[in-house]
């Protein structure tokens, strides 16, 4: 009986190894290889971003080594290090945070692998560590949201704003808040009375908004750092017997499908676009980098702002 058990075991091990051997190696002809270290799949926005990159790579005939860091910087660094070990042609990554990349990027530089950043920039003294950065500007998104509010909110008296922040410490949360505050400062009537994190999720957004509504009857405006929290908050506002979009003006960021649906129902006033469709642009740049072209340090993606009124027209065009 024991013997048979041991045999079974060795069969399993041998099977594992054999299946590994049998797996075809994909090292055929020399294709351009891009190693891309993604942040994770923490939001709808991010999955749309990933899909865009994968599809674009396939269309451009670039072999993509994709790695998911599950929102951890150390995982991203590990992935970059493994890309270096695999000797890929270009490394791309969407930094989880802006800081702390110098060491591993120097290793990439030493291995002569060019690096492209997407989505957000990094803090470094040595600009030569990366070729270029393409992506959105969270601070700018915050500014746009604030500007829209200043331009469009016409009520008298003080404006009490509550803010649903993203995950504490995350770059979009910090930068969107920064941009928003910058602009709002211009008018002393606009005041952020309450601010709490909703972790970028609908459930938390709803929960926090519920508490806000109980604690404070005078809320005029809600600024949510992403659409998901705004959608959760809308539900809380409705439950409290108020009309979202009218009694409380709602400004949010991302412009995902759900936001458009809410806008079409008249429940969300405006959403600032944060475009995830970086794939095709990224692949172009990869090819240019490999061809040795000079590129600007920063390439911004085109991003719009969608007030309620334009929602119905824009909705069919939304891919994410």
């Amino acid at each position: 009986m024991l013997k048979s058990r041991r045999n079974l075991l060795s069969a399993v091990v041998i099977g594992l190894i054999a299946s590994a051997v049998a797996m075809p190696s994909f090292a055929a002809e020399k294709k351009l290889t891009l190693g891309f270290a993604q942040v994770g799949a923490e939001s709808e926005w991010r999955t749309a971003n990933t899909t865009s990159i994968k599809e674009a790579a396939k269309a451009a005939g670039i072999e993509l080594k994709f790695s998911d860091a599950q929102q951890k910087q150390e995982n991203q660094i590990k992935a970059i290090r493994s890309f270096i070990a695999q000797k890929v042609d270009v490394i791309g990554f969407a930094p989880v945070v802006t800081t702390g990349w110098d060491t591993v990027l120097k290793e990439a530089k030493a291995a002569k692998i060019p690096v492209i950043l997407t989505d957000r920039s990094i803090e470094t003294k040595d600009d030569s560590l990366y070729v270029t950065m393409i992506g959105s500007d969270f601070t700018e998104e915050g500014r746009k949201a604030g500007q829209w509010l200043l331009d469009n909110y016409k009520a008298q008296g003080d404006v009490n704003i509550v803010e649903l922040q993203g995950t504490v410490g995350s770059a979009p949360a910090i930068e969107r808040q920064k941009g928003f505050m910058e602009v709002i400062k211009a008018n002393p009537k606009f005041k952020v009375t309450r601010s709490q994190t909703g972790d970028f999720t609908r459930a938390k957004g709803k929960e926090v908004m519920e508490a806000f509504l109980k604690a404070d009857p005078n809320i005029n405006v809600l600024f949510a750092h992403n659409d998901d929290m705004a959608i959760g908050a809308i539900q809380a506002i409705e439950a409290a017997g108020k009309k979202p979009g009218k009694d409380i003006i709602i400004v949010s960021v991302d412009a995902v499908k759900g936001a458009f649906e809410a806008m079409m129902a008249g429940k969300l006033n405006v959403t600032v676009e944060c475009n995830p469709q970086l794939g095709p642009q990224l692949m172009d740049i990869v090819k240019q980098v490999k061809a040795g072209k000079q590129l600007p340090k920063r390439i911004n993606t085109k991003e719009g702002i969608f007030p309620m009124e334009t929602a119905a027209k824009e909705f069919p065009n939304r891919k994410y």
């Binding site: 080594k65 790695s67 150390e74 995982n75 590990k78 070990a85 410490g169």
Partner: protein, 331 residues
């Protein structure tokens, strides 16, 4: 005929685990180009050095029969305090290092006292510590702080060449030194053996006249120290302080210890096993990175499946191996 019969039952799980690690690495070597290189192996140490250090502290805690959920947060707090002091207050690294180590110990002391003196459950106390340390990070700054201090940068970028295109980082070296010291503590000091005794049977340890209370508190201090040291390595690894660093590292550390053969019930396990546990977690990640074709969710599922296969194989081999051993010794 059977090798296992002559083995100490304590070293058997370790041998099984090591063999399975080699099998996993072999699997990678066969499947992926460039996997079978010394640098890929050394990267396991470079990229997981801090986890190894943290997991070593965790191993002691688990062997003593406790658990420490605060380690990941203390790592983050260490990076935050270091970065803040060096960047905003321009302190010298040589002041900061002992300071943060002391801070880690203080956290451990707090946990130990609450657990031992007030008889609170370790799980809950260290969960509180986890909230506290992570919360303090945000109090310092919610944003990440980049470190540009030349000493930190130099230490971070230091590479000991071990051959052509083969190198190891400072944190890898520190991790290995910590490992050596931990092995010494676990096996050659009274403290280490007392930890094992307490985990085996706390009442007996008390009746044998061992300093149970002191040792139990010290174990948490040690874990706090290792977390802070791990935090220093993370600081060097990322050259930044950030409240979201090392999120969920406590589970990785527990997993590493447990995979390495440490029993959560206490008394059984060893530090070398933890090294293997860390390497296994690392090699699973490397396999997935080298594969590079998995989507985000398949990455998670694949990690889960590999973990599952590994633990299952480990259990099956142990059962057959230890089963035989037990039979020959029960009288």
């Amino acid at each position: 005929m059977s090798l296992t019969r002559h083995l100490n039952p304590r070293t058997l799980p370790l041998i099984i685990t090591t063999t399975l690690f080699v099998a996993l690495f072999g699997f990678g070597a066969i499947s992926y180009d460039a996997f079978l290189s010394p640098q890929v192996f050394l990267n396991l140490l470079i990229d997981n050095g801090f986890l190894l250090v943290v997991a070593i502290g965790m191993t002691f805690v688990i062997i003593s029969g406790g658990i420490d959920l605060s380690v990941g947060s203390i790592v983050a707090l260490t990076t935050m305090v270091s970065a803040s002091l060096v960047q905003h207050h321009h302190w010298s690294i040589w002041v900061i290092l002992p300071l943060v180590l002391l801070m880690g110990c203080a956290f451990g002391l707090l946990h130990g006292v609450l657990i031992q003196v007030f008889r609170l459950q370790a799980f809950i106390v260290t969960l509180g510590g986890m909230f506290l340390a992570r919360g303090l990070c945000y109090v310092i700054s919610i944003d990440s702080i980049s470190i540009t201090d030349p000493t930190y940068t130099a230490l971070s970028e230091y590479r000991l060449a071990l051959g052509e295109e083969t190198f190891i980082s400072l944190s890898g070296i520190i991790a290995l030194v910590t490992l050596a010291i931990a092995i010494f503590i676990a096996h050659y000091t009274k403290f280490g053996r007392t930890v094992y005794a307490i985990g085996g049977n706390e009442r007996s340890a008390l009746l044998m006249g061992l300093p149970v209370a002191r040792t139990k508190i010290m174990v948490y201090v040690l874990s706090g120290f290792c977390s802070a040291l791990g935090g220093i390595l993370v600081t060097l690894y990322m050259l930044s302080g950030y409240g979201l660093h090392a999120l969920g590292m406590e589970l990785d550390a527990i997993a590493a210890a447990v995979i390495g053969g440490t029993l959560l019930t206490g008394g059984v396990g060893n530090v070398i096993g933890t090294l293997i546990g860390v390497l296994i977690l690392g090699v699973i990640q490397s396999l997935i990175a080298f594969d590079g074709s998995l989507s985000s969710w398949w990455t998670r599922i694949a990690i889960g499946l590999l973990l599952f296969l590994f633990c299952l194989l480990q259990r099956i081999i142990e059962r057959s191996g230890l089963g035989r051993k037990a039979k020959s010794t029960t009288a």
